[in-house]
Symmetry: C2
Subunit: 141 residues, 2 copies
DNA sequence: GCTGCTATGCAGTTTACAAAAGCAGAAGAA
DNA sequence: TTCTTCTGCTTTTGTAAACTGCATAGCAGC
C-alpha cells in the first residue's frame, strides 16, 4: 500500500506551479528538469490534470502549463483522484460484486473507515497549505 | 495505493481462526477452502504470522494453526505489519536518504500525517472487534 | 519404526501493472 | 512557414505481487 510515482510526480508538478505567480505558464521540460522527473511520463500525468481542469495547457512557442485555479482552491484529493481515480484501499470497498462471499465483511468495514479518514485528510489540505508549510520550514532552517 | 492480496488473505485467515474456540487447531487446507485462497500462498503468509507469534503452528496429523493469543490482544496493525513490515505511504517517509532533493518536503509531511492516522486506526482495532462487528451485522440481517 | 498427514523453507514461475520511452500529429506563436 | 510545445496513441521495460512446486522436517497413530 504505497503511493505511485505518478501520484508523487503529479503532486510535485502542481506544487511547482503553485510556487509560481498565478497564471504564469511553465513548460513541462522545466518542471521535469527541476524535479528530476522523466518528461514524457510527466506529460501523461499532466494530461489527466488538464482534463480535470486543475491545470490549463498552452501549446506552441512559450507554451506549457499553468494552474487553472488558485492553489487555495485545489485540494490534494482533487489532484490525486484526477490521476488515479477515486481512492480505494481494497477493490471491493465500493464494489460489492467482487467479494460476494458474504453480504457483510468486517475487514471491508474497517478499510472503509480507514479510507474515509485518509480521503478526509487529502480533502482538507490545499496546494496553498503545502506551499505555506514549505516556506515556513525553509525560514525556520 | 491498495492493500495487497497477502494482507487481505492474512487478515481473512486470522479472522477465521478468531471465530473458532480459542486454542482450537485448524489446518490450512480448511481455511484456504473456506475463504477461497490458494493454499500454498496462504502457507507462506502464515509463516510470517507464526514468526510474529500471532499464530502457533502444529505439525502432523490433526495439525494446523491456532491463534497464539486471545483475539482481544491482537491488533489489526500487528497482523498487517507482520506480513509486510511497517507501513509507509511513500518510500521516503522514514528514509530521508532516498529523497535528498530538499531537506524539507511538504508532500512527505502530509503523507506522514496521513500515515499516522491510518496506523492509528489499525492499532485501535483488534480481531475481537472485527468478529463482534461481523456477528452484530449478521443478527441485524 | 513405518505410514500418512501437515507445516517448513526455499526456489522457482507466471502475471500484472507501474514506469518509462517513442513517435506521428495537431495546435499555436512568431 | 517554422519552430515549439502539448496530444494521443503504442510499445517496451522493469519490478513486485501472486502463485506453484518440491524436497524436508516434525508429529501422531498404528
Amino acid at each position: 500500500m504505497q503511493f505511485t510515482k505518478a501520484e508523487e510526480y503529479g503532486m510535485l508538478g502542481v506544487l511547482y506551479l503553485s510556487e509560481k505567480k498565478l497564471g504564469s505558464i511553465t513548460p513541462l521540460s522545466e518542471i521535469a528538469e527541476a524535479k528530476g522527473i522523466p518528461e514524457k511520463f510527466l506529460a501523461k500525468i499532466f494530461q489527466s490534470l488538464s482534463r480535470a481542469t486543475i491545470v490549463r495547457s498552452h501549446r506552441g512557442v512559450r507554451g506549457g502549463f499553468s494552474l487553472a485555479k488558485d492553489p487555495k482552491e485545489i485540494s490534494v484529493k482533487e489532484v490525486l483522484e484526477s490521476i488515479h481515480g477515486p481512492y480505494h484501499l481494497i477493490k471491493c470497498t465500493n464494489n460489492t460484486e467482487i467479494c460476494d462471499k458474504s453480504n457483510f465483511c468486517s475487514l471491508r468495514e474497517l478499510l472503509s473507515i480507514a479510507e474515509r479518514k485518509l480521503v478526509q485528510i487529502f480533502e482538507d489540505h490545499t496546494l496553498a497549505d503545502l506551499v505555506k508549510w514549505q516556506k515556513n520550514k525553509m525560514i525556520a532552517i
